[in-house]
Amino acid sequence: MARTLTMIEAITEAMAQEMERDERVFVMGEDIGLSGGVFKATAGLYDKFGEERVLDTPLAEGNIIASAVGASMVGLRPIAEIQFADFITPAMESIVQQASKIRYRSAGGYGCSLTVRICCGGGTGGGLYHSQENAAWFVHEPGLKVVMPSTPYDAKGLLLAAIRDPNPVLYFEHKKLYRTAKGDVPEGDYTVPIGKAETRRQGRDMTVVTYGYMTPLCLEAAEQMSKSGVEAEVIDLRTLSPLDRDTVLESVRRTNKCLIVHEDKRTLGIGGEISAIIAEEAFEDLDGPIVRITGPDVPAIPFAPPLEHAWMVNTEKIVAGMQKLAAY
């Protein structure tokens, strides 16, 4: 049975069900226990599972991850929360030098089955330090999987897949989608495979590659373009690492054009890699440049409404990109 849930409800449900199913699973992070999380992602878990399995940690992101890595090494399955992606920097050492490399450096002797939930993204007035998205750093680091759902269905399915994955998985959640993304979510158990993109809309005229909060905007833009006869195919990556090259390449080889859309800064954003893969593998199929619509090369999203608005990719900007590409 499926019901309509918001994305945040889907996330909470995934954790609750998996904790019920698997004793090894527990959650830890700042403000995830007593208060149920800044965005209420862990609401109800503390009452249900108690402090042992829903642990409010000291204010120390590096240790949240390091202690979760250690706990996973003895067979537990921690879900660690980083309250805002902006505050993941103190945990860089733990994520990149420990979580992503413990298996490799021990030749498989020690593993790290760890899920890190990270709230990210702009467009909600969060200002410079409550709006960042930095998944790109981690996509650069093999040994880590990186996912980011755009629908409640995927939010639950990807989170269950992440928790069960024997590798460290960074699970980015866009705060703007928490309550705006609503959709059918099965009550029961299911997973969405990590590493598989989803084609959200079919189209013959161009491929749009995107993920997260940009997905609904791209779909909206595609509908607008449809009115003038241009049919865009919209691919929601869902997994940012490892990238689903096949789905992207197959589509681009068919549509012969590619638009990449993300909210993160342009330079060395995920779009750079997508573009490079296409330019390398599907060059002969291209009928136009690979166009990127992205956030600007600015340190972070500023607070003042006109500045935040100027940063954010919106339907209008995406349509403009589509029109530019359609002209080829």
């Binding site: 700042e30 940690t57 204010l59 600015v298 003042a304």
Partner: protein, 337 residues
């Protein structure tokens, strides 16, 4: 420096001093100003006058004012998220403080950062990042720079109990200890870091014990007693100024409201909140002043009226100020060579 509670040591030095009256009335006025500005900031947020968030310091004014009041103009403050009023104490025009909340083009950061995360270069308050302990690390760097330049200026660094758990806190204090940097670490221990209670933050009872790991003095004071904080701070400032190095001051206090204006703070008991409200730092200090006959109803009224007017003007200025233009998005990323 050894006493755990400044107040318990009986009459404080500063109270005995010549111009005790002037000083104490000055402190009182500043307490009232901070309280009134903070409450106004909360109302404005709730009225939807600005987005983002606000982190009220109501209940903690004695720690804030007591620690920063005696700083010289050329001294520095490294405020954190709950220290918007540190700018007021250091002398920032209220107009700018409210423009900061509104994210207007007239604010020191031209709307770039976040409400309440305020710094203002002319008065040497450092624009903080939200990242906890970040301002503390950079503030320590400023103290390091000042020392290298041979200045006799000092830095006051504000932060909470939660901040003391972060690696950046440790690295900074250790460095300050090695080089005897001119900095005063003022920890406002309000028992909660957002919703995390102290018992899950640290195994310590007194956070001033953190200083024992760095080889400089730590002292815990009643953070709701402005004179106790002021006394500890002036001693620490003198110490820092004369090259003897840092001091850690733990101010035990409490925030009356949620972590921020969007936090209902259901994790705390009513009893706990009520008990602390009974120890309102303003009421406590008013009683001291009245006992000493320094404060009358008349004067109290006059002070409140003056501040009200200043606030109204400031809010009006902020409201009338324009937002920065979208074209400013790419300004201030790079310095021009």
């Amino acid at each position: 420096m050894a006493s755990k509670s400044g107040r318990a040591v009986a009459e404080l030095e500063t109270e005995k001093s010549e111009n005790g009256r002037e000083l104490m009335l000055g402190l009182y006025q500043m307490l009232v100003k901070c309280r009134m500005c903070d409450e106004k900031a909360r109302i404005l947020f709730r009225q939807g006058k600005y987005a983002g968030n606000f982190y009220s310091g109501v209940g903690q004014e004695a720690a804030e004012v007591g620690a920063a009041y005696s700083l010289r103009e050329d001294d520095w403050i490294a405020p954190s998220h709950r220290d918007w009023t540190a700018n007021i104490i250091k002398g920032a025009p209220l107009k700018l403080c409210f423009a900061q909340l509104f994210g207007k083009a007239t604010s020191p950061d031209r709307g770039k950062s976040t409400p309440a995360h305020m710094g203002y270069p002319p008065i040497h308050t450092i624009t903080p990042a939200s990242s906890i302990a970040g301002q503390l690390a950079v503030g320590t760097g400023v103290a390091f720079g000042l020392k290298r330049l041979g200045r006799d200026t000092v830095v006051v660094s504000f932060f909470g109990d939660g901040a003391t758990s972060l690696g950046g806190f440790h690295e900074a204090l250790n460095f300050a200890g090695v080089h005897r940097l001119p900095i005063i670490y003022v920890c406002q221990n309000n028992l909660w870091a957002e919703s995390v209670p102290l018992r899950l933050q640290t195994a310590l009872t007194d956070l001033s014990d953190r200083a024992k790991a760095y080889g400089f003095p730590g002292v815990s004071v009643d953070g709701n007693d402005v004179m106790a904080v002021y006394d500890a701070a002036t001693k620490a400032i003198a110490r820092a100024r004369s090259g003897e190095g840092p001091t850690f001051i733990e101010c035990k206090t409490y925030r009356w409201y949620g972590h921020s204006e969007i936090d209902p703070a259901k994790y705390r008991t009513k009893e706990e909140v009520e008990a602390w409200k009974k120890r309102d730092p303003l009421v406590l200090f008013e009683k001291v002043l009245r006992d000493k006959k320094f404060l009358t109803d008349e004067l109290k009224d006059k002070i409140a009226k003056g501040i009200t007017q200043e606030i109204n003007e400031a809010v009006e200025f902020a409201e009338q100020s324009p937002y920065p233009d979208a074209s400013e998005l790419k300004d201030h990323i790079w310095a021009q060579e």
